[in-house]
C-alpha cells in the first residue's frame, strides 16, 4: 500500500515547484491574449515557388497603413508553404481593406499562386465579450461542481471535501495556465475549453476517490484513523485512476500527434494543454486532494482535543 498521507510533503513540494516555475516563466514570457480575445488581425496565404517576405510585409504595410509582420511556415506532412501576416494593433480590418490587400499581393506575386487559406479579424469589443463569457463559464463551473460534490457527499464531511476538491481543481487550472505560459500560447478559446474540461475531468477523478472514502467510512471500524481511511481508499481506486487517465491521455496524445504532423493549429493548442491537464488532474486527485483533506481533518481533531483539555 502506498502511503499517500505519509508522503504528502513530497507531493506538496512537487506542486509548489511547478507553480514556482510557472511564476518565473510568467515574468520572463508574460502572458498574452489571443486576438480572439484582445482583438487584432491575422491572415494566412498559401503559396508556391519563392516569395520575398520583406516585400510582402512592405506591400501589406502600405496598403493597410498599419505595421505588418510576415512569417513563413511549412507544413511537415504536406510540404505546403504559407505566409502569415500579423497586423499590428488590436483592431480588425474591414472587408474593403482586406480586398485591397488581396489584390495588391496577388498583383505583386503573380507566380506564387497566392491563396487565402485562413484569416481572422476581431474587433476588441467582440473579443472582450468572448473573454468575459469564458471566465464567467469557468467561475460558474467551479461553483456548481463544488455545490454538487458538497451535496452528494454531505454524509461523510459536508463542506470540507467540497473545499478540498476545489483546491485540487484550482491546482489543475493553475497547471494548465503554466503550460500556456511556458509554451507561449496566447490564451484563446481552447484555454477556456481545456480549463472547463479539466474542471470536469479532475473532479470526476477526485469524486471516484471520495466515493471510495464514503463507502469505506461505512464499512471500516468507526475509530479508524482518518489518514488510514484515506490511504486505503486511494490505493483501492488507484488502478482505476491510472488506467482511466492513461486511456484518456493516449486518446488525446494521438490527436495531438496527428495535429502536430499535419499542423492543425486549433487542435494543437487544444490538445497540448489538455494532455497536461489530464495528467495533473489525475495527479491532484490522487496525491493532493486526499492527503490535503486528511491534514484538514487532523487539524480539526486536534482543535477539539485542545478544547477538551482546556476544560
Amino acid at each position: 500500500m502506498i502511503k499517500f498521507y505519509g508522503n504528502r510533503k513530497k507531493f506538496f513540494i512537487f506542486s509548489m515547484t511547478m507553480f514556482a516555475i510557472g511564476i518565473i516563466a510568467f515574468f520572463i514570457n508574460g502572458i498574452s491574449l489571443d486576438i480572439q480575445f484582445k482583438g487584432g488581425a491575422i491572415l494566412k496565404y498559401s503559396f508556391v515557388n519563392e516569395l520575398d517576405k520583406e516585400k510582402a510585409a512592405n506591400i501589406a504595410t502600405t496598403t493597410l497603413g498599419r505595421n505588418v509582420n510576415v512569417q513563413e511556415i511549412t507544413d511537415i506532412a504536406k510540404k505546403t508553404k504559407q505566409i502569415v501576416l500579423n497586423v499590428a494593433g488590436n483592431e480588425g480590418i474591414s472587408a474593403q481593406d482586406q480586398e485591397k490587400l488581396d489584390i495588391a499581393l496577388k498583383e505583386e506575386f503573380k507566380d506564387a499562386d497566392l491563396k487565402l487559406s485562413e484569416s481572422n479579424m476581431v474587433e476588441p469589443f467582440i473579443g472582450q465579450r468572448f473573454f468575459t463569457n469564458g471566465l464567467l463559464a469557468i467561475l460558474l463551473a467551479s461553483l456548481l461542481i463544488t455545490i454538487y460534490v458538497w451535496w452528494s457527499f454531505k454524509r461523510i464531511a459536508s463542506l470540507s471535501l467540497g473545499v478540498m476538491a476545489l483546491i485540487a481543481l484550482l491546482h489543475d487550472v493553475a497547471m494548465v495556465l503554466v503550460v500556456f505560459i511556458l509554451f507561449k500560447i496566447p490564451l484563446n478559446d481552447s484555454f477556456i475549453a481545456v480549463v472547463l474540461t479539466i474542471l470536469g475531468y479532475s473532479m470526476n477523478d477526485t469524486v471516484v476517490i471520495y466515493d471510495r472514502i464514503r463507502e469505506n467510512a461505512r464499512i471500516m471500524k468507526p475509530n479508524t484513523p482518518v489518514d488510514e481511511l484515506v490511504d486505503v481508499s486511494i490505493n483501492q481506486s488507484l488502478t482505476r485512476s491510472i488506467n482511466t487517465a492513461l486511456a484518456t491521455f493516449v486518446s488525446i496524445l494521438i490527436a495531438y500527434i496527428f495535429a502536430f504532423i499535419y499542423n492543425i493549429e486549433s487542435i494543437k493548442t487544444f490538445a497540448l494543454p489538455m494532455l497536461v491537464g489530464i495528467a495533473t488532474g489525475a495527479y491532484s486527485s490522487i496525491c493532493v486532494a486526499g492527503p490535503l483533506w486528511v491534514v484538514w481533518q487532523k487539524r480539526k481533531q486536534n482543535q477539539k482535543q485542545l478544547l477538551k483539555q482546556g476544560k
Partner: protein, 435 residues
C-alpha cells in the same frame, strides 16, 4: 433482473445495427415511406471544416449604435443578399446589446472562386432600394428609377376585411417623404395599369401594377398572399431605408481545402485512438474489456447519430470532444471491471461479484459523469463558435455513457457469464491460482 444467453447477441445486434445506421443512414423512401435518417455521410460540418465565413457586421459610423429596429432592417438586407447569392445554408443572428449582426455561412462546394472578402464587403454595402418603371420583365434590367430608398419614411404591413365577401386583404402601407410623394404622384399618374418594380440592389422583391394615381405621401401595395408575405415585403422596403452602411471588421475565413484536410486527419486520429483504447481494454480487462468494446462502439456511433440526425454542426474541437469521450467513456467500464476483480479476489462467486461490482460502481460513475455534464452544459451556454460543438459532443458522450458503459455493459456481462466456458473467473481478472 436476469439476462439469459441470448441477451449478449441482442445487444451485439443493436450495436451492429446502430453502427450501420451511423455510417450509412437510412432512407425511408426506398421502403415506401418519407424522410430519412442522416448518417455520417450526411454530417453537417462546421465552418472550420467546410471552409467559409463568419463575420460580425457593425455600423460603419462608430458613433452610431444601431437600434434594435435598425438591426432587424439590416438583417433583412443581409438575408436578401444571401438569398440572391443562393446561400441558403446560413445563420444570421443579432446581438442587440452590442449592436452587431453575426453572419455565418459555409463555402459552397460548387464554388470555384474563393473570394470571401468580396462576399463580406458586398453583404455590408448600403442597400440600394429602388422603384423602377419600364423594367425588362425577362432580364429584370433596364428601366427608369421612380423613387429610391431615401424617399421612403416608413413601410408597414396591414390588413382589412372585405365587408361583403369577408375575404381578408393583406397589404403594405408606405409613407413617403414630401419629395417622394410628388415623384410618385407623377409616375403613378402616367403608369396606370402598368408595373412599377421594387428592387433591392439587383433583386426584384415585388412587381405590383399601378391601379390608380396616388397623391399625397401615403401609398398601398395590396394583394399580398398572407400577413407574413406582407410583413416580409414591408421589412425589405424599410431595410432599404437604413441610414447607415454596415462594415465587418471582425470576421474569419477558412478555405475549404484547409478544413477538408484537417477533417481527414482528425478522423484518422479518432480511429487510431479508438483502436488503441479497445486493445488496451481487451488485454487488461479480458472479458469485461471485450464487452467495453461494444459499449464504446455504441457510444461513439450514437454520438455520431446525435450529430447527424438533427444536423448539428460538427467542428474540429467537436471531433476532439468525441476523441476525449472515447478516453473518458471507458472510465465506467474500468471502474466496474476493477470492482468485479476486487470482489472476486475477496472470495465472492462470479454472479455475486458482477452484481456487487455494478452496484457499488454506479454511484462513482454517476457522480463523475454529472460533474462532466455540468461543464459540458456551460461550454454550450458560454462557448463561442467552434467550441459549442465540443461542448455538445462531450455532453452527448457523457449522457450516452450511462446507457452504454453501465446498462449495456451490465446486460452483456451478465449474459456472457451464463456460458460455461466463460465462467472462468480468470477472464474477469481473478488470479489464475484462485481457480
Amino acid at each position: 433482473m436476469r439476462f439469459g444467453k441470448q441477451w449478449f447477441f441482442i445487444v451485439a445486434i443493436i450495436v451492429v445495427g446502430l453502427t450501420y445506421l451511423a455510417f450509412n443512414g437510412f432512407d425511408f423512401v426506398s421502403f415506401g415511406g418519407t424522410g430519412k435518417i442522416s448518417g455520417a455521410q450526411d454530417m453537417r460540418y462546421g465552418i472550420d471544416i467546410r471552409g467559409g465565413v463568419e463575420a460580425y457586421f457593425q455600423s460603419a459610423d462608430e458613433n452610431v449604435i444601431p437600434t434594435t429596429q435598425q438591426l432587424e432592417q439590416a438583417r433583412t438586407i443581409i438575408e436578401t443578399r444571401l438569398d440572391s447569392k443562393n446561400i441558403t445554408d446560413r445563420e444570421v443572428t443579432i446581438d442587440k446589446q452590442r449592436g452587431v449582426i453575426l453572419v455565418r455561412f459555409p463555402w459552397k462546394s460548387d464554388e470555384l472562386e474563393y473570394n470571401p472578402q468580396t462576399a463580406i464587403k458586398e453583404l455590408g454595402e448600403t442597400a440600394k432600394l429602388t422603384f423602377v418603371e419600364g423594367i425588362d420583365e425577362t432580364t429584370g434590367e433596364g428601366g427608369k428609377i421612380v423613387i429610391e430608398g431615401k424617399h421612403i419614411v416608413d413601410a408597414s404591413h396591414q390588413f382589412n376585411q372585405d365587408q361583403t365577401t369577408g375575404q381578408m386583404n393583406y397589404y403594405v402601407k408606405l409613407v413617403l417623404s414630401e419629395e417622394g410623394g410628388k415623384l410618385f404622384e407623377e409616375a403613378t399618374g402616367r403608369l396606370i395599369d402598368k408595373k412599377i418594380a421594387i428592387k433591392m440592389d439587383e433583386t426584384i422583391i415585388s412587381n405590383p401594377t399601378v391601379k390608380t394615381k396616388i397623391s399625397g405621401t401615403e401609398a398601398v401595395i395590396d394583394g399580398m398572399e398572407s400577413i407574413e408575405s406582407a410583413k416580409a415585403l414591408a421589412d425589405k422596403i424599410k431595410a432599404g431605408a437604413l441610414p447607415f452602411a454596415l462594415v465587418s471588421k471582425s470576421n474569419s475565413q477558412i478555405s475549404p481545402t484547409l478544413g477538408k484536410n484537417a477533417l481527414n486527419v482528425m478522423v484518422k486520429a479518432g480511429a487510431t485512438a479508438f483502436i488503441l483504447v479497445c486493445l488496451f481494454m481487451l488485454f487488461y480487462y479480458r472479458l469485461p474489456g471485450f464487452v467495453s468494446i461494444f459499449a464504446l462502439t455504441m457510444q461513439v456511433v450514437c454520438q455520431l447519430l446525435a450529430l447527424s440526425i438533427p444536423q448539428y454542426s460538427l467542428t474540429l474541437p467537436g471531433i476532439a470532444g468525441i476523441i476525449l469521450s472515447i478516453g473518458m467513456g471507458v472510465d465506467a467500464n474500468i471502474i466496474i471491471a476493477e470492482r468485479i476483480k476486487e470482489e472476486l479476489r475477496s472470495g465472492k462467486t462470479l454472479g455475486g461479484a458482477i452484481d456487487v461490482g455494478f452496484h457499488r460502481a454506479f454511484s462513482a460513475v454517476r457522480d463523475g459523469n454529472i460533474t462532466v455534464m455540468i461543464v459540458a452544459v456551460l461550454l454550450m451556454m458560454f462557448g463561442s463558435g467552434s467550441m459549442l460543438s465540443f461542448g455538445y459532443t462531450l455532453l452527448v458522450g457523457v449522457i450516452l455513457n450511462f446507457v452504454t458503459g453501465v446498462t449495456a455493459s451490465r446486460i452483456m456481462i451478465k449474459s456472457l457469464s451464463n456460458f460455461i466456458p466463460l465462467r472462468n473467473t480468470f477472464l474477469y481478472g481473478n488470479r489464475r491460482a484462485a481457480q
